[in-house]
Structures are given as C-alpha cells and as structure tokens.
C-alpha cells in the first residue's frame, strides 16, 4: 500500500494502455480529468436511460394491444437494467449511485435532451425506437471499444438490447404504415416532431464541441459529432423511404460526390433552450424522478435497517 510510483511513470503506463487499445480497469491509475470525464459521461448516460423510461412509459397503460404492451414493458425494464449497469460502471470510478441520483433530481447533472419532448401519440413510441434508439446506437457502438473497461463492457450488452429495441420500433412503424389512414398520419406527424431533435442528439457541430479532441485522444470517443450525425442520416434516409414517410428537411439531398446525404442545420437555439431546462418536459421529467425517489425513501431506509439487523444477527 505504501508503494509510490512516480506520477510520470503512471501516466506513461496509462497512455500506453490506451494507445494499445487495451482497457483501463478500476484499480489502474488514471488521470483525474479522465476519471472526471468518464464519471460525468457515464452518469449522464445512466440518467438518460432512467429518464428515457418516461416518454415511452407514458403509453404503457394505454398500449393498444397486449402484444405491444408487453413489448413496451420489456423495453422499459431493459432501460432500468441499463441504468443499473451504467450506475455500477460509474461506481467503479469512486462515486456512488445515491450521489448521482441526487445530482439528477436536483438538476445538477443532465440527461439526453431528447427526453424533454413529449410523446403525443403511440406512433411516437415507434419513432423513438427507430430514430432515438437509432441515434443512440450510432453514438454507443463505438463506446463498446471505449478505453475504460467497465463502461465498454456495459455498452456491449446495452447495444445489443438497443438494436433489438430499434428493430421493434421500426416494425411498429411498418405495421402502422400498413394500417389505417389515421395510423399513417400519426407516423408522419411523429416523424415530423422527432426528426430534428434526433439529429441534435449527436451534440453541437464539431466547431462548437471543444472537448471532443481530448475524449478522442483518451479513446472514450471515437468519432466526432458531425461524423456520427452524418452516419445516422445516411443510415436513416433509406429506412424512411422504405417506410414511406417524409423526413421534414427540404435540404435533404443525395450528394453523389461524397456518397452520402446532405441535410439542413438543426435549430441549435432550440437545443440550447431545452438543455437549459426550458424544454417542454424538463420540469416534468425531473419532478417525476424526484417524487419517486422521495416517496421511496422510507422503503430504502427499511431495507437498510432490515439488512443491518440480519447482519448483526449473523455476526452475533
């Protein structure tokens, strides 16, 4: 325990592991900034899974068939599970879940802004699966090779389930598009509302994303925001065509030269407003989570007290 290794050596070792595409593990030395960046990112990711249960959860009690109800409930359950893996990954960095939850419900830590939009019809459930989970997958697949081991391993499992959710969302939309006129209108309306917020999930354009370079050097991030956004658009446009919906972007056109789709600029001022808490659902989302947490305090306290009694008995 009294082992002292010069900081320079430790840092070299860290850099070497990262450069060799090997994994940093919890007991390894790591730079404070690396740790802090990871904690913030993993916590936000975990919060997003938990808050992300709400928009779709809004339709759980009203799902229009028992099959869809079961699918949606299983998805909500997966999201709670993802939250658990991710909080566990964050805990390996020396924070604890209770502390992170406090930061979420007091508004000191963010979650993905996409969840501050309301889900207004059941088609939103499908579009969230298709576009929002689709965008999340673009963001997350590279994280499976993240330099921090516990995060990378959590992401492997999460990505597998996310792509299952994405396919289910797309399948729901296909079903609705084959359905009644009202159902098709519902899908187009949902696409119109969710398209731009989905594009904004990749974060500001590279010019406005000062931390990207460092995260990329640390092999936390692998691709720039704009690169991921382009990849998402290229993947999604043919799916939209197959579905028979119009993406609400008049500037969307094939760029022969680049071999990809050009697209318009999102309304970044709106993103800024939503990030700063003025989105249509920010207050509601945090409030729901806070209420659940506060209402459950006595239950958690009871569990702790019970465990302490059993431990005392076992010891005594």
């Amino acid at each position: 325990m009294a082992e002292t290794v010069p900081a320079q050596t430790l840092e070299d070792r860290f850099e070497a592991v990262v450069a060799a595409e090997q994994r940093i593990e919890p007991r390894d030395w790591m730079p404070d900034a690396y740790r802090a960046t990871l904690i913030r990112q993993i916590a936000q990711h975990a919060h997003s899974e938990i808050i992300g249960m709400q928009p779709e959860g809004n339709w759980l009690t009203r799902a229009p068939s028992l099959r869809r109800k079961a699918i949606l409930l299983a998805k909500a359950q997966d999201e709670a599970g993802h939250g658990l893996y991710l909080y566990a990954a964050a805990e390996t960095l020396g924070v604890d879940r209770a502390e992170l939850t406090e930061k979420l419900i007091s508004g000191r830590q963010k979650y993905s802004s996409i969840f501050n939009y309301p889900t207004l019809t059941f088609a939103d459930v499908g579009v969230i699966g298709w576009l929002v989970d689709g965008a999340a997958i673009c963001n997350q697949v590279p994280l499976c090779r993240c330099s921090y081991g516990p995060y990378a391993r959590a992401m492997v499992r999460i990505c597998k389930e996310e792509s299952f959710h994405q396919r289910q969302g797309y399948e729901l939309l296909m079903t609705l598009m084959r359905g009644t006129e009202a159902q098709r209108r519902m899908v187009q309306d949902a696409v119109d509302r969710w398209w731009w917020p989905s594009l904004m999930m990749f974060g500001p354009s590279d010019a406005d994303s000062p931390n990207t370079a460092r995260s990329m050097a640390w092999r936390i991030k692998r691709h720039s925001n704009d690169e991921l956004r382009r990849r998402f658009v290229d993947m999604t446009v043919p799916q939209a065509e197959h579905l028979g919906v119009t993406l609400p972007d008049p500037e969307l056109r094939w760029n022969e030269e680049r071999g990809g789709w050009d697209f318009g600029e999102p309304d970044w001022s709106e993103l800024t407003r939503v990030i700063h808490g003025q989105g249509p659902c920010n207050a509601q989302r945090v409030e729901r989570r806070r209420t659940a947490h506060e209402d459950g305090a006595w239950v958690r306290e009871a569990a702790v007290a019970y465990a302490a009694k059993r431990a005392a008995e076992a010891a005594g």
Partner: protein, 248 residues
C-alpha cells in the same frame, strides 16, 4: 366450452388487471431494482393473461382474440376479483396485495396444472414457477418493511390491514369455478397458513377483519366491481377503442 371459457376469463382478467396495476408503478418505484422486478412481474402476469384470454376466446366458440377480450369488453363483463383492481396505494399496500395474490394464485395454479384442459393445465404449470417468484419477492419485501424501521413496520401493517378484506373473494366459489372443476375454498386453509407464517416472521399481525361486503351478494366474479375498475379500463382501452378495426 362455455364454463371453461368463463373460467379462463376470470383467471385471465385477474392477471390482466393486476398487470396493469403493476405497470402503473413503472417510473415510480422506490428503487431501480424494483423497477426491474415489478416490470418483470407485470410481464409474467401479462403473459398469463394473454394465454388465458386467448383460450377463453377459443373455448367459447366466438373466436375472439386476446385483444377483443381485453379492449372491447365493458366493465361489467370483466370477471376479475376486486383485490386486483384496487388502486396501488403505497409500496406497502402493493406488496401486501402481491403477497396475498401470489400465494393464493400459486396454490391455485398448482392444483390447475392437473386440469383436464391441456391449455389451462399448461398455463398453470408455467404459472406455478412464475408465481413462486412473485411470492418470494413479495415475501422478501414484507419482511424488510415489517421488520425494517418502526415507520415501515407501521405502513406494512396498514397495507396488510387494508388489503385483507379483499382476500376472501379469492376463496369464494363461483358456480362457474365449481363447474370448471375447481373449488377455491380448498385453498383457504393452506393459503392462510402460509400468509400467517410470513406475517409472523415479519413481526406483523394477521388482521382480524371481516371480508369486504358484496353488493347484494355480487362481486368481481359476477362483474360487480369497485369504483376503481372503471377509470382503470378507461385508460387501458382508450387508444384501441379510438381506432376500431386497426392493427397495431
């Protein structure tokens, strides 16, 4: 035919309505682990409901699907016991309800796994395992709350007291049940014994309260419910009913 269908509908409605109540906990549970667990129980019950309602629609010759039965019946056509439709209350109430339901339904499924109808027998056989887990989960929380803090113990006892008058309906034989070859009254003793043991271990008292009165002798199995079922169904059915004939 008709009796089997009616019986499957009773059991299916129990599972369906309780699944809906569990679903209401989603994003409101006291801990993330409980989010996962409660969704899991809800999924089990939903799965049972789907099989049972499908069987009901086959057995009565109408060919109604699970969704026809779930979304297009009126309140008075639902045959669930009143226990499952009661609002969730606090976590202690929900746990107490779950303990009672899982214990009784597990015992019933055990008996039904030898039922002459192979579909019902198969659902019951699978259900035995699921309900055993539900019972285990509810028992674990009954112990934690009952023997946790003084405050949690008070709330757990209040939950048990509040739900207890609804237990008897699970043991009250409806003619359909008897004709379907099952007398739920036979479950009373073993179920009460099992519940008594859990409550004793949790330091709780078995309530000495009479059963909730019926309305002129009629209750859930007759389609005479509490005021809680109407609003539950309004929400449950609203979207399906707004689009008659649509596929989802």
């Amino acid at each position: 035919g008709a009796d089997l269908a009616a019986y499957c509908q009773m059991l299916g409605d129990d599972a369906l309505v309780l699944a809906q109540r569990l679903i209401e906990w989603c994003t409101r549970a006291p801990e993330l682990e409980e989010e996962v667990a409660l969704a899991n129980l809800g999924l089990d019950l939903l799965g049972q409901a789907r099989l049972l309602l499908t069987r009901a629609g086959q057995a009565d010759g109408t060919g109604r699907t699970e969704d026809d039965l779930a979304y297009w019946r009126e309140e008075h056509e639902f045959r669930n016991v009143r226990l499952v439709e009661a609002p969730n209350g606090d976590f202690a109430y929900s746990i107490a309800r779950l303990l009672l339901f899982a214990t009784a339904r597990g015992a019933l499924y055990e008996a039904l796994s030898a039922h002459p109808d192979p579909v019902l027998a198969a659902v019951a056989a699978r259900g035995v395992k699921e309900l055993a887990y539900h019972r285990e989960y509810a028992t674990a929380w009954t112990l934690r709350l009952g023997d946790g803090t003084p405050y949690s113990s008070g709330r757990m006892q209040a939950g048990v007291d509040a739900v207890w008058p609804l237990l008897e309906e699970l043991f009250t034989a409806h003619p359909v049940e008897l004709r379907a070859g099952v007398d739920p009254a036979a479950l009373r003793e073993p179920v009460l014994r099992s519940l008594g043991a859990v409550l004793a271990e949790a330091g709780l008292t078995v309530p000495d309260v009479p059963p909730l009165a019926t309305v002129l002798g009629l209750a859930g199995r007759d389609g005479v419910h509490t005021e809680a079922l109407g609003p539950l169904l309004a929400e449950f059915q609203v979207l399906a009913r707004a689009h008659p004939g649509a596929t989802w």
